[in-house]
Symmetry: C2
Subunit: 130 residues, 2 copies
């Protein structure tokens, strides 16, 4: 029901913005989607030589141990390909829940929103034009 023609679950789109890949997570990430996403990101890094990955989770209202592990694994594999991963847009309630669960996402950089994440990666979003 969730996709029309692309199999059981549509892959999460990975956008390229200059030297950075941008992924916007929405709703739930199922097993197959998580694996596909990790493959897509690493393949795109290898193909295009981007140096950063921003994963926006402002549309995610719960990060459990599964998603925490997926994010950490994406960051680790991207790191092995010399790209830094920044987690952006975490909701305050999600941050509290993560701490309560003891999941502090070691090894992941975080930023308040995607714009700040891009700045953190040395990739301002055209701010200079104002």
């Amino acid at each position: 029901m969730s996709a029309s023609a692309a199999g059981p679950a549509a892959p999460v789109p990975v956008l390229a913005l200059g030297d950075v890949l941008l992924v916007t997570l929405q709703g739930e990430l199922h097993d197959g989607m998580a694996e596909q996403l990790q493959q897509d990101i690493t393949q795109r890094i290898a193909d295009s030589g981007v140096t950063g990955v921003v994963i926006d989770i402002s549309g995610v209202d719960m990060v459990d141990s599964f998603l925490g592990r997926v994010l950490a694994e994406i960051a680790s594999s991207a790191g092995l390909l010399a790209a830094r991963t920044v987690l952006a847009g975490m909701r305050p309630a999600v941050a509290i829940t993560l701490v309560e669960l003891g999941l502090t996402l070691p090894g992941l950089l975080t930023a308040l929103d995607t714009e700040r994440a891009l700045e953190l990666l040395g990739h301002g979003a055209g701010r200079g034009r104002t």
Copy 2:
């Protein structure tokens, strides 16, 4: 099943990148989500004065008349608030289907990908840094 706490369907995240809002559509957009998205985008334009909206549909494998109408309405309402909307990342198969259905999305600017859409809106994604 699709969201943990945010009601029947999680809202689509709207990211701000400088002067542009970025929305990445994934999977299916249901009625309530479409209405919510239109409200979110117009509210964000009014609040922050952004001048462009990029809607990336690279993760969408079918655009039907409903989604076509939603996109046109978002573009029209954004236009009334002085923001231009660019549709980015349409898959070739989607373009063919749209033409076959006679849906040519009048009034919508298109770009091959989000990076080109940002350039079209005069908002390069940090390319100058290379």
